[in-house]
Symmetry: C3
Subunit: 470 residues, 3 copies
Amino acid sequence: MKLQLDPARLFPVDPATREVARGLYNGVAQLPILSPHGHVDPRLLLEDTPFGNPAELFIRYDHYVTRLMHAAGVQLSELGIPDRTGVAATAGPREVWRTFSAHWHLYAGTASGYWLQHAFGEQFGITEQPDADNADALFDRIEATLATDAYRPRALFDQFKIEVLATTDDPMDDLAAHAALAADPSFSGRVLPTFRPDAYLNPATPGFADNVEKLAHWNGTPASSYQGYIEALAGRRRHFVDHGGVSADHGVFQPLAVDLNRSDAATLFEGAMAGTLTDAEQRAFAGHMLLEMARMSVDDGLVMTVHPGVFRNHNTDTFTRFGPDTGHDIPATTTYVDSIRPLLQKYGNDPDFHLVLFAVDETVYSREIAPLAGFYPSVYIGAPWWFLDAPDAVLRFRAAVTETAGFYRSSGFIDDTRAFLSIPARHDMARRLDSAFLARLVREGRVDLASAERISVDLVDTLPRKVFKL
Amino acid sequence: MKLQLDPARLFPVDPATREVARGLYNGVAQLPILSPHGHVDPRLLLEDTPFGNPAELFIRYDHYVTRLMHAAGVQLSELGIPDRTGVAATAGPREVWRTFSAHWHLYAGTASGYWLQHAFGEQFGITEQPDADNADALFDRIEATLATDAYRPRALFDQFKIEVLATTDDPMDDLAAHAALAADPSFSGRVLPTFRPDAYLNPATPGFADNVEKLAHWNGTPASSYQGYIEALAGRRRHFVDHGGVSADHGVFQPLAVDLNRSDAATLFEGAMAGTLTDAEQRAFAGHMLLEMARMSVDDGLVMTVHPGVFRNHNTDTFTRFGPDTGHDIPATTTYVDSIRPLLQKYGNDPDFHLVLFAVDETVYSREIAPLAGFYPSVYIGAPWWFLDAPDAVLRFRAAVTETAGFYRSSGFIDDTRAFLSIPARHDMARRLDSAFLARLVREGRVDLASAERISVDLVDTLPRKVFKL
Amino acid sequence: MKLQLDPARLFPVDPATREVARGLYNGVAQLPILSPHGHVDPRLLLEDTPFGNPAELFIRYDHYVTRLMHAAGVQLSELGIPDRTGVAATAGPREVWRTFSAHWHLYAGTASGYWLQHAFGEQFGITEQPDADNADALFDRIEATLATDAYRPRALFDQFKIEVLATTDDPMDDLAAHAALAADPSFSGRVLPTFRPDAYLNPATPGFADNVEKLAHWNGTPASSYQGYIEALAGRRRHFVDHGGVSADHGVFQPLAVDLNRSDAATLFEGAMAGTLTDAEQRAFAGHMLLEMARMSVDDGLVMTVHPGVFRNHNTDTFTRFGPDTGHDIPATTTYVDSIRPLLQKYGNDPDFHLVLFAVDETVYSREIAPLAGFYPSVYIGAPWWFLDAPDAVLRFRAAVTETAGFYRSSGFIDDTRAFLSIPARHDMARRLDSAFLARLVREGRVDLASAERISVDLVDTLPRKVFKL
């Protein structure tokens, strides 16, 4: 079966509306990519090593892709993922690619399938859908292409017109790769670190006490000192700011902020280090630390992003054998209005504090996030994330938030991806969908065309620069 | 940039469907306005004083409008809102209008923006989008127009073809303005009071005991008498009925009904007056009183409307300085099925009792409200309200409820507005959207055109008359 | 008013998209009907007795239909439903049909109205909308048609091209009707029983202890024996398997699975039999038994279907007088991610175990069911059910789940109906809507036409055969 990328893909089906969308899209299609939140490893660009093969590139590390084959009965070990209990992966790259090709029909209509088609067509000139028969030929073609200089990471970085790429990093990361890239005269892109402190803030995280020990050791204070812990966190944030970091990211189950006094906080901290807290006390301490992070953001200017509501590692057997990020992180109900209130009471009206609220429970978009962002100068509406970063979901998102909060309270697109090659596909998809949404509003007489053209550029350029302080 | 009102605005983009929508709309566009729930001050019509200036009219009192500028970093005091802590408003009307004009792009795609455009274009003949450059000229133009007799409230009331306008009133209001309007031979409109007793029913409301004292004083019974309290409420309801009132409105956080016996209720009442109730007891008493209000509605015929699920005054600092209704009322999750059940057990099957259920959590439309209204003869589906009174949200609403409950369990449109000048824009929007929704069903072969024409008129005329007993 | 069935009904309004939908639909319109979940009585086909009259056929037993007239103020006794407190039904079939005809406009835009139109037009050649004037003529016409051999149940079974029809049965049912049908050489259809054990698993069900007694008696073990209870359930499941059963259905309020050890389970069982459990203990035991049912499904291969989230018999007075299934079953909020986890921990990764998750709270589709089905090989996404089996809701469903889980994790359509004559209308509606959804994706460049054609057939044929092991 043919693989053909329709130049009008994702535009509305009505011909006149499609024409408006095409015009809006043409105005933004070639703008540089700003990627203020993602998971690419900075060493990819520092070392500029060629990508290995299509299985490594598209399958092995992309748990959006592996999960659907797992659901179809394929073992993760057959997809090249090593079993941590000691069993080696049972398939080499070519076998993995063959398995994927034979299951390609599973991806029809999915966001992953859309991005893969884009990459196959746009970046590798492939004109057939993968299947069992053409698997080897496509493998060879992609592998050969990857071996060329034009497909090394830095060359692609330029080809993709990436201006800013934010990574996500452990607070104790020395950020040497970021520093080396910044110092490299042959590389002109901006690669920024993002402070991601969850494992240092939530006593329920395995390894919490060890992490605090590392912080304390770096800070030269005793691990038992709450004061030292707070100082160390502030210090590590400064380290990130010094290396160009613009934001701190918080992955929490429920977005809870708790306002404790210092004495109560210190007491809970002691319990957290001793492992004696109840579940409720653990949540209270983590909620207190979310508030502390907001306070530090007010001080050091790091944009605070909150990614809540994911039940991670839902299946213990899979987690034990294959580790995290293996496809069984499942969204749960989320609510912000009451739980985040103590934070907004303190800092919500500070326009220099930027708080970007994301969701995987889409009911919260119209009910809570848009109304909050429509009042608090600090609050911005995070772009659709994870499972919701998909064509219909993105249009539902825009419809859910725009009528309440307009376009100018949204954060601009974030790709949130580990998959370097999917970055242009994802940004292109976002631009097409915003064009489609705006085109409908133009044709319904709700936004005039000139305003839509301005908004279209602002969504891609002005807003992410402003919201993420780029 | 031009401001042009498309005659086909809000109709579907598909040409054939648009034609069907246009036909349906033309059949209802000129029908009189029935506004059975809103917040216009009756003295506006009694005194018929000219509106002052565009800032007073469109901005100062409309917290849908001020909140988006606040989110953009504008202080509420810069929008003419006085600071209750003693700081005067820092801006006069012209400055407020200039600020608004410079921020006009924030409203693109919002419901407020849509209504403002309608008013600017239809009522003031404005043909440019407001901006920093034309702000003074537009201010002058609107101000001059407002000074003419044709733009005084009563003239507009006639021009808008308002047949019925319900206000919202405190139970102790003497309703003198309503009486004077009804007695005025020079005014032929119906302006009806609505009984809004929240502050007299919920012990958690600041001032509850004082309010009960007022009731008791009026009734000539001791404030400590539960019997007197109940009698006084019934008496005040009769006062509203005697002044043409047709409904009682209940703004509750969660729509809880609790069935207590008289003795337990009296005990809680004592605690409520003494301020000794726990939170749970306060909720129980308020829930009991919601059930009592239903009982009284069965007796006196007042339609019971419930507007639940809003976390009011989310930001304490703003509330302290600028008071309520300043843009930080945020929706929360709502559920009816269990919480309202005691009320429906008692009165749900009484077809003369009318209970209109609203929501700002749109998940409740298809899940609960439509199924309840599809069985209980008392239950009607409230029109989309607050943040959900917006084009896409209204179409989602119709799609969510119609397949379960049809068209004849919905309440008809309510505008719920303080902004007198937005009334025609809001009703016109609702008529356009219902036409758009019906046109799609016609074109999808689900409803024949003749039925759609009948439904279209019934939604605007028959249903609100029936549901609100007009 | 005319009743005309548009051949293009439910297809998208955009002409080019409509053509794609028409082509996809034409490829599946004539495929046989697989109905793996429903509520038709097998004796209907065994006895092949002619249907009586239009009121019996379309109204009296269809609580989707009666509830909307009840909401309009009609008493259920006026619709031929006997009052269990001793009052006879007050209306004969012709009066019931007249009442219905006079209320026909209430069904415009509803799913029931759509199915009824289909049946009136396709099966009875009716060309007018029912109304008060034509009620008697339509009654006579339908009644006369029902008296012909071509409209007896078996003839319709063939005419509808039903290949498989699953019924829903009590665990203690002897399944004699199924056996007789299977043994009847003159009947070639497959009519399969479905094991529905709720009343034997949940101690909160009235009659639970009696039901357990029946199980124990059949098994020849004491009713007090937990071991005997478990054995008996497994034995009755085998009885169903032996009679061609392919699935076990579980109607639960919340889909809770609880992992108890045998000793704790046995203790709770004793309490359940004695009627001494607290609500929480009842829930725990029912949750334990859901897990036991999953374990047995792993053993005996019965597909496990879960239909959660319905508050049944919401109005006690109506339930007392008219019994269950009288229109006041109301959806409630549902969540799976945490509550069902113990079951998925144990059996989720077994590809031979099939678990089909349904919902009447549509928020759970994109948030939980699609992500779960996108990872666990056992989990399939149940088709839209009950109130959600309606045109717009079905399209929302496809949009909500497909981007995350693709098409191949969905179960295929189930009609879930008691109304034999509505079966072709319901399957036809599902085929039209899936064609409409796929056509949009084709025109948006997201799925190529050849893939859409394959998916279209798979949804109707391959998937239900696989998921329900037909």
